[in-house]
Amino acid sequence: MERDLDNANPTILSVSQLPRRSRKGAAPRQGPDSKCDSIVYPKHAWPYGSGLSSDEEDDYREEPMDEQDIYDLISTISDPEHPHTLGQLSVVNLPDIHLSPSPVELPGSDSLVTVLVELTPTINHCSLATVIGLAVRCRLEQTLPPNYRVDVRMKVGSHAQDDQVNKQLGDKERVAAALENDTLRRMVDKMLETCV
């Protein structure tokens, strides 16, 4: 049952060490459950429209997202070979998540927001980097509104084949085909099981 792991002894953070929203100042946010609700059941139509008739569109009106929200969505993904989350293994790190432009500044609900997530695989030759990236991209595309464009990359210098992995993860057609591959799909689904 035990097989050779690519990285047998990763550094693991305890849950209490993971970044979370500080409570002072800003109004407390709702948990991820209710956030998903607002995506699944859109509340209000965006009043300014996009030029197309508004009943033909899915409108997603909700609180603007920030980096911590993105972190919360993906840090709970399980590592494919360790019984820990990507947050605990520091594969996903809050300072490596970038939103542009900030959703607060958006002129309308159709305006694009780019989410850039830079991953730090646990060791240099992590053969599972692509699968981890796929799971992160998949998780974000499933949960974020459709005006978010997700770019998942390996952090510079963190992985031996950065360019190849980055290019694959940025290729919509390859990602779509990968998710139709039963083996990959099962792996990704398993990794996402721990997401709330």
Partner: protein, 473 residues
């Protein structure tokens, strides 16, 4: 009306009501039939055919593939017809009564291509034994497409499967005469299949499934081959260099950031005659120029990429090549080129073609350009991509492009040039969603001013919407 959505310089692109029904899932592309008022849209494991007359569903192809259908192509009518550059036309002996047969080919992530036919008058009738696991489900929304309204059975039949690619088929295209089919895949190869069934576009009561043989497997790309396109052969100038090669010219676009041009040489071998390098990202596809050029030159090629750009490439034609040779760049230096001892000069030159990037369209897109359509009618170009923007461009043909004189520009690096300008853009053309495909398409709906002549744009998006757009210049 809602008014003008995207406009600059008096040009307008206004949305028409989308095709019905919505598909409610990512749709990859919508391909108009070359002559009939039909549009085939690939989505999930099936293809929905819409009528351009009613803008509603005409029929569907389901059950043929185990994974998503990524690409669709209509089979050109076989056995003669317009294609001036077609192959040995079997025009003789028009038969008594031919039933019209429509052919469609699908390329799927399941690594196969499927040949389908739609037969009016419900074929032989008997032997309804389904082939292994092939469950057919054909529905008809209306009669708009094939028009006779006889109420006979009409359905798509899955005729045969082309197997050979190792994994996902990503693109396919028929040669203009219909003799060849090219398919391309993530396995980095392009396959050329030849129709060896005799080329009769008839249904003789029974099944005419056609027979296709592999004539070439081209594996020079270093990455997925995303798309293939045949040079149109009906243009007089498209037949240049026939003394070295057959008339058919194929181009392929790849994940390796390059485009390759392929021709069949005198020995029947398909060879790569040029590699077009210049894109800084996956080349998602390509479009040949469909209009004859005023200067009678070879059709140009337009390519579009994940780098957000659209580029135009031009073949350096023979006179210039000879000039270059005469300039003596290395003539003495290369022992194989001197005297009569080496390979004959004409033959050597026939091995390679020089293609120059002669224009880069003004940059509009902030993300991957997934699709471009170059109108064979008007020469206008429309592009779209991951940013959900539609852009419309025109070329000013009055002022000659500086890049056209490739010989003179030899010193400088081929930078951005050409005379293209943006006529209009439409942001958020599918709301917040990505747009995967755009195509020019003849209008046949009642709202058209000139049915069958006037062109509109059709976009296909991740939202499962297939939307026509009226373009006013």
């Amino acid at each position: 009306m809602r008014g003008i959505v995207g406009s600059t310089y008096l040009t307008s692109i206004t949305p028409l009501p989308p095709f019905t029904p919505d598909l409610y899932q990512r749709a990859w592309c919508s391909v108009p039939h070359p002559t009939l008022p039909l549009l085939a849209t690939a989505h999930a494991k099936s293809v929905t055919v819409f009528s351009l007359a009613t803008l509603a569903k005409h029929s569907a192809l389901t059950g043929g593939h185990a994974r998503s259908v990524r690409a669709v192509a209509w089979q050109p009518p076989r056995g003669g017809g317009s294609g001036g550059g077609g192959w040995a036309g079997q025009d003789g002996g028009r038969r008594k009564r031919r039933r019209r047969r429509l052919g469609l080919v699908t390329g799927s992530f399941d690594a196969t291509a499927g040949m389908w036919s739609f037969v009016e008058g419900g074929g032989g009738g008997e032997d309804e034994e389904e082939e292994g696991g092939l469950e057919r489900e054909v529905r008809f929304g209306d009669d708009g497409g094939l028009g006779d309204g006889e109420g006979e059975d009409k359905e798509w039949e899955f005729d045969l499967v082309l197997e050979g690619h190792e994994n996902e088929v990503k693109g396919l295209a028929f040669s203009p005469g219909g003799q060849y089919l090219a398919t391309c895949s993530r396995d980095k190869s392009v396959w050329i299949w030849e129709d060896v069934s005799g080329g009769e576009d008839v249904v003789d009561g029974g099944d005419d499934e056609g027979e296709w043989e592999t004539v070439a497997v081209l594996s020079e790309h270093d990455g997925d081959v995303k798309a293939v396109a045949w040079c149109p052969s009906h243009l007089p100038n498209a037949r240049a260099r026939r003394h070295h090669y057959s008339a058919d010219v194929l181009a392929s676009a790849s994940y390796d950031n390059t485009v390759r041009i392929w021709r069949e040489d005198a020995d029947g071998e398909w060879v790569c005659v040029a590699v077009l390098e210049g894109h800084d990202g996956t080349v998602w596809g390509l479009q040949w120029e469909g209009r004859a050029r005023p200067d009678g030159r070879f059709p140009r090629l337009m390519t579009f990429s994940a780098d957000g750009t659209v580029k135009v490439w031009t073949l350096r034609e023979e006179e210039e090549e000879e000039d270059n040779d005469a300039d003596g760049s290395g003539r003495g230096a290369n022992p194989f080129q001197s005297g009569f001892g080496g390979i004959p000069n004409t033959m050597r030159r026939s091995l390679r073609e020089e293609w120059d990037c002669t224009a880069v369209l003004p940059k509009v897109h902030s993300r991957d350009v997934y699709s471009v359509s170059w109108s064979a009618e008007t020469g206008l170009v429309a592009s779209t991509g991951g940013d959900g923007v539609i852009a419309l461009y025109a070329e000013d043909e009055s002022a000659p492009s500086r890049g056209a004189e490739a010989g003179d520009a030899e010193n400088g690096t081929p930078g951005p040039k050409g005379n293209w300008r943006v006529l209009a853009t439409v942001p958020n053309a599918h709301g917040p969603y990505e747009i995967n495909h755009i195509t020019w398409c003849k209008r046949f709906d009642p709202g058209a001013e000139q049915r069958g002549k006037e062109e509109m744009l059709v976009t296909t998006g991740d939202d499962g919407v297939v939307r026509p757009w009226q373009v006013r210049i």
